[in-house]
């Protein structure tokens, strides 16, 4: 496992990744503070979402607590032109791509199935069907190849795809088929799996007996395993992978070892299947704490900055709170929208019949 920051914040050099971080200006103190702030912000949003769920404002919430470095690092490792293909627990990725957190909350509230324009934000919709997004990522990469957007040598234009999935989802056949297509066509795709130790109640050992990183070697796809709670290791690995992919060197696979600190979702009770001691153990490896320790060691963070971040995070949580509490339920007629992009007589007839059906009640109410 590659680690650049140990749990106490100590920095270990890593030839390849340090070069990549350096070249991209990704590890300047300012940037590091930025990652710290991002992680604090997204954690606050995450905690607020859980609380909103408890208040009945969301139907469900899938917390990414503990995976902040794995996501903020990967999100920032991508270049603007890259295309990111998340799962449903990718709030840090979303944040890094400029997707407002309330758009995520809307999905978990149950007012939309997808909250942003994938083209505009270069980020695929969240995906609940495990693994189903992986071939999309490869196909997108095959499109990039056909567009001449790979391997021209222009780092600001050449494009790669980051395909995310969990340790559990790694078992889905569609992920394996994605490896096959990516390897065969040398598609510019980095597969990035956050191994957060659990797929709901099932430990990673049920999905694989060997390190998950080894999986892609069966296709000859090079892989690394990084400490996913170490934002620098993640940044280095993902940037390096994406740059190699955009250069036309084919796919890579990264296993990012992290931990799902909360339950699977707000519907889940993690105490049924894992000991509190495990959670405590991982609390020691907290990605935010770690970066703060590192910054402190560099003398690049002060109490004021920490306080500002916390204040901003608090504000964000409040904003989300108010935004969600003030939210009206959608017009039920949206049910009929966007089923097709071109007119469809059956949908039109059903919409019309439903309008007519509803109008009865209006008549009734008017009649009262």
């Amino acid at each position: 496992m590659i680690q650049l920051l140990s749990a106490d914040g100590t920095r270990t050099p890593h030839e390849e990744f340090d070069e990549v971080l350096e070249a991209g200006g990704l590890a300047t103190p300012e940037r590091l503070r930025g990652y710290y702030r991002d992680m604090v912000m997204i954690r606050a949003a995450d905690l607020e979402a859980t609380s909103l769920q408890r208040q009945g404002q969301l139907g469900l919430w899938a917390s990414a607590l503990g995976q902040e470095a794995a996501q903020i690092g990967a999100g920032h490792a991508a270049r603007t032109q890259d295309y990111l293909v998340p799962t449903y627990r990718e709030h840090g990725i979303a944040w890094a791509r400029g997707i407002e957190p309330w758009r995520l909350l809307e999905m978990f509230r149950g007012i939309s199935h997808g909250g942003w324009d994938p083209h505009e934000l270069r980020t695929h919709p969240y995906m609940i069907v495990l693994g189903a997004q992986a071939p999309h990522a490869v196909g997108y990469g095959m499109g990039l190849q056909r567009d001449g957007a790979v391997g021209t040598g222009d780092l600001e234009r050449d494009t790669a795809v980051l395909a995310l999935f969990g340790d559990g989802a790694s078992s889905e056949g569609e992920v394996a088929e994605s490896f096959t297509f990516a390897a065969s066509f040398e598609a510019p795709v980095v597969f990035y799996s956050q191994n957060n130790q659990w797929a709901i109640s099932v430990p990673t050992s049920v999905q694989t007996r060997v390190p998950l990183a080894q999986r892609s070697r069966g296709w000859g796809i090079p892989s690394v395993r990084v400490d996913g709670n170490d934002v620098l290791a993640v940044l280095g690995a993902v940037r390096s992978g994406l740059d190699s992919a955009r250069a036309g060197e084919g796919p890579r696979f990264i296993e990012s070892l992290t931990y799902r600190m909360a339950a699977h979702t707000t519907s889940d009770d993690a105490s049924r299947y894992r000991p509190g001691s495990e959670e405590e153990e991982w609390a020691e490896k907290d990605p935010i704490l770690r970066l703060r320790r590192h910054l402190a060691g560099l003398d690049e963070i002060d109490e004021a900055y920490v306080a500002t971040c916390e204040e901003e995070a608090h504000d964000l949580a409040m904003q989300l709170h108010h935004h969600i509490h003030g939210m009206k339920d959608p017009d039920p007629m949206i049910v009929f929208d966007n089923v097709y992009s071109e007119p469809h007589p059956i949908v039109d007839a059903e919409r019309e019949a439903y309008v007519q059906y509803l109008s009865q009640f209006e008549d009734e109410e008017a009649g009262r």
Partner: protein, 327 residues
Amino acid sequence: MSIVQLPIAKAITAGLRDAMRADEHVLIMGEDVGVLGGVFRVTDGLHAEFGSQRVVDTPLAEAGIVGTAVGLAFRGYRPVVEIQFDGFVFPAYNQITTQVAKMHYRTGGRVRMPLVIRIPHGGGIGAVEHHSESPEALFAHTAGLRILAPSTAHDAYWMTRQAIETDDPVIMLEPKRRYWMKGDVDTDHRPELSPWQAAVVRPGTDLTLLAWGPSVPLALEAAASAAQEDVSVEVIDARSLSPIDVPTIADSVRRTGRLLIVHEAPVLGGLGGEIAARITEECFYHLEAPVLRVGGFHTPYPPARTEHAYLPDLDRVMDGVDRLLAH
């Protein structure tokens, strides 16, 4: 004590437990069915009682789950597979459609497939995408499968047992949003009614209302509501969706002259259409009105905060009743 009050989920648990005690070849497989007891706790306690050889937390791969269950059935086991939510059965669709359904046929009857595929089914729980589907029509068209859809705790218990005892593959559609609805379960006396038969759950004379699974309580509510307007609605719980018990439905329609079918699945291409076509063929001269259907729209299952519009509810069922009687 032979009669206990249980929620549907726990009735299924009891059915699984008793089946496993009765036959050591019964085993349970799926995602999170072990220590956790399933996301709906339907397999709660079974891992503790039967251990991880008989209650198997599998890798996260639905085709693999169903496909290995096929192999276990070849080896003489009776696997009960849990698909975590209706929306996640599709990765296993190839195994179910081309393998599970056809194995008895393609081996000339030499190999039986006593496999049960349990699927929490339907909407109305405010869930995120892919957690509220009603895919019964996507399975009923395929010969070789049987499909049961209990609506009461008693049926849930016995259908679980009977599905497991059946030598053909059975898909059990469990009415997710009614999991915590309680009912009396008599675990001692095998029901006289076959699981493959429909049941008239409320007699009536003006109109037949057919429903299954989660929609049965709604149908009963509608019948009660209609009764207040002096409309006598006969409610039939289909119980089995493959085979469909056409004779029981036809008997009723011959008496009432009118049939309304309610299901959560989209009306277009749903099982209601097949039933309507069959009943019309059998009861043409008895029908006072065309068979009508109330169900989901020809749209994907919508976001949870709009599902009340998508799902049949009392108003929409009563509207169907009114339209039917207006003929």
